[in-house]
Symmetry: C2
Subunit: 174 residues, 2 copies
Amino acid sequence: MSAIDLVKQRVRDVPDFPKPGIMFKDITPVLADPSAFNICLDLMAERYDTSSFDAIVGIESRGFIFGAALASRMRKAFVPARKPGKLPAATHRVEYALEYGKDAIEIHRDALKKGERVLIVDDLLATGGTAAATIELVKKVGGEVIGAAFVIELTFLPGRERLKPVDAFALIQY
Amino acid sequence: MSAIDLVKQRVRDVPDFPKPGIMFKDITPVLADPSAFNICLDLMAERYDTSSFDAIVGIESRGFIFGAALASRMRKAFVPARKPGKLPAATHRVEYALEYGKDAIEIHRDALKKGERVLIVDDLLATGGTAAATIELVKKVGGEVIGAAFVIELTFLPGRERLKPVDAFALIQY
């Protein structure tokens, strides 16, 4: 069995979450298996040259899990992109559309130095709304996005297109 | 300068957050410095014998940052304790009192095997309400809490007392 197949085996389908008709890809069994979790980090670390970026921006909340562990391992700065009102100092905010209504995401205004190169990390690329907003946030604070890495990509949704020209990398595609 | 002094230097005071009169200890500058972030993980890893526990339960959201990185490094299972409605499968929930009103935290019912030994990780020990609720959650799913590790402890609040007999360990005390 290949390394990524072990990770795939650990992803659990949970029907009707967060609402009826949605089949949720639950990565908590991946996290519960140290081998599977570390394979995810190994594969992300192999994909990006350590000299090609300075910081990882992790998207709240599951992006914190993968992003911070990867930042520690690759010795990069870790920057949290958070839901509104959670970051204590001055922030930039970007709003984005949801299926019904809208949401927003924030970053500290001093989170990056001008020209710092950023890898965005989250667990799931679906519609790409949150990741696209995070790309915009990074630009607002003077950073340059060199890529966006995900554990899972739902290829029946247009997330990858939405992030262009930023390259999306996913360990598992459904 | 000692290792922990580097971390202390990176903790930033943000006045009047989350409300007027509160001086918030902001750890985002710690995360932005790979040396400081890894010192936190080094010191936590040194404190706990790797054979003394099986899983790390990280408390949403900043506990995910330290807990998942530590779990990866120590090759332990990582289990997220999350705000209500965020975990997709069947959960246990524990409510706890806030200054005004109440909050709750959840864990997957199948997150731990019976008798698994757990280290709880969060960034801040203040009143101890969330951590005490998380201890209760771990017991509900059959786990045994061997300790609770924090980056920062506010010693003018009774968090440490509230967690007893679970031992609280903090890298920095104010």
